[in-house]
Amino acid sequence: MLRRSLVKLVIGLVLLGNGVNLLIFLLGGLVRGNPPIITGTESVLGQIYADPVPQALILTAIVISFGLQSFAIVLIKRAYIVVNTDDLDKIHSTEEDDDY
């Protein structure tokens, strides 16, 4: 993300987003082979089970970050066409005192 190229910036953002998703997954406490299903004879879950909440959260987070990332890709394409550079250091006309 610290690169000056716009494309690499977006790649960094994508990686970051996926990293956070994995973090949610991990912090939910991974358990193998124990789905949170209450069998007919019991009324509460007996043993340690896989928490379904983080999975629901990740699903939401993936959808959101997917939307944001696709926006980012369109944005940098547009930025490349309009500004005609891929270099972040050359994007500085917002600091100039122009009027439009």
Partner: protein, 504 residues
Amino acid sequence: MITNLIILPVLLQFSLAIILLFFWKKIEIQKKLSIVGSILSVIVAGTLFNTVYGSEILTLQAGGWMAPFGISFVADAFSTTMILLASLSSAAVSMFSIVTIKKARMKFGYFPSFHFLVMGLNGAFLTGDIFNLYVWFEVIIISSFVFITLGGKKVQIEGAVKYFTLNFLASMVFLTAIAVLYGLAGSLNMADLSGKIKSIENQGLVQVTAILFLVGFGIKSAIFPLYFWLPDSYHTPQAAISSIFAGLLTKVGIYALLRVFSLVFIPDEFMKTLVVILAGLTLVSGGLGALVQTNMRKMFSYLIVCHIGYMIGGLGMFTVAALSGAVFYLIHDIIIKTNLFLIGGLVYKINGELNMKRMGGIYANYPALSLLIAVPLFSLVGVPPLSGFWPKIDLFAESFTTSNYFLLGCFIFGSIITLLVITRFWSEAFWKKMENRERRPHIRYYDQAPAYEKALLIIPILFLSLISLYIGIGAENIFRLSDTIATELVDNSAYINAVLGLSK
């Protein structure tokens, strides 16, 4: 009490935005629908505020799943006040945008995104679930991305790259914080978390999570080391868009900070000191930034940053009086900042210039209009009977009693800088003689506009100025309100009981 009334502000904006999508290219219908919908939402927000203020906190458990398992929506005095303010200022902006937004931009979904944005704001104010808060934040930023790129000029795209990157980063930090919090406490309901967070053994990790939240919300609300994206992007879109950004987007970050740090993480000494220092530096650096600008809208952007410091400072001191001052300032600031950018738009329409050095002569040509504009400018500076003055009493006095002399100094510094900046703006744009210069053909000047367009430009400013006047002159009522809110923030048992359905 459980009621479906709570969800109405969100639902109204949502259905309005969907209906507007059906009239994609028919902007005349869109304009009318948007105005009607905004007025309706003011009425709904007013009703909700009246029901909640002074009586009990309303809750809604989504889908009938009881808290802490389902998603809860909570309407207490604080959130309904914010919703009322959001709907008031969005109504004014919706009216202002009818004449200032170019037709081509309206055709590409200006109004639908506007109402999606307000929906996101209302949702963020109402939710009682921290992951749901994240989702509302995303709704807000996605709509704001549409706004900031709408038009596709060079500066806009460049501003958008910065705005996008920093906001995406903030969301990711926020999401990380949520993940760690869930791993620690096993809950996402803020009222439930409030009880659970104290029983966690690893308090060091809780502290780290709190810092992550501070950073995430800090980027969004533009506090000291994290504000650089704001003055680089807020001045690029058109006036109506900037004013909704200025009035509400950074303030939703402040709201989230106040909510999370009063409910989930009660600030300890270290946290208070940290927040106080950040507030002081925000005031100083924002103020200095505003001082050197000659571009009118960039100067206003720095003023936003500067004034964020007052609210963060109130949070940092964390006493009832200080929080009351912060909430009062928040109420005042939403209205005044929206108005300030609308005024910026009007001044641009009159002069056709954004550089203050090339402005002038507004007072000579439009004396009555200038007097109207003077009211919000004076309240911004904090001239006594007007709205900017009252919250400062609380904040100044409280920083004195809690012996935060550094913060007190920064408060005073911020006020003086604001005074200087606004005085300079007034003398450059209003009092200076207008030199004759050529008019640029692509701008529609104010005096070329027909009478009804002039009215639509002035009515929103008048409307917001009247609200500011009321906040100033009826300060007693606002104080009572902000005291109620601050008491509820410090003693959060009423909120928790209402959400979890416990008896009092």
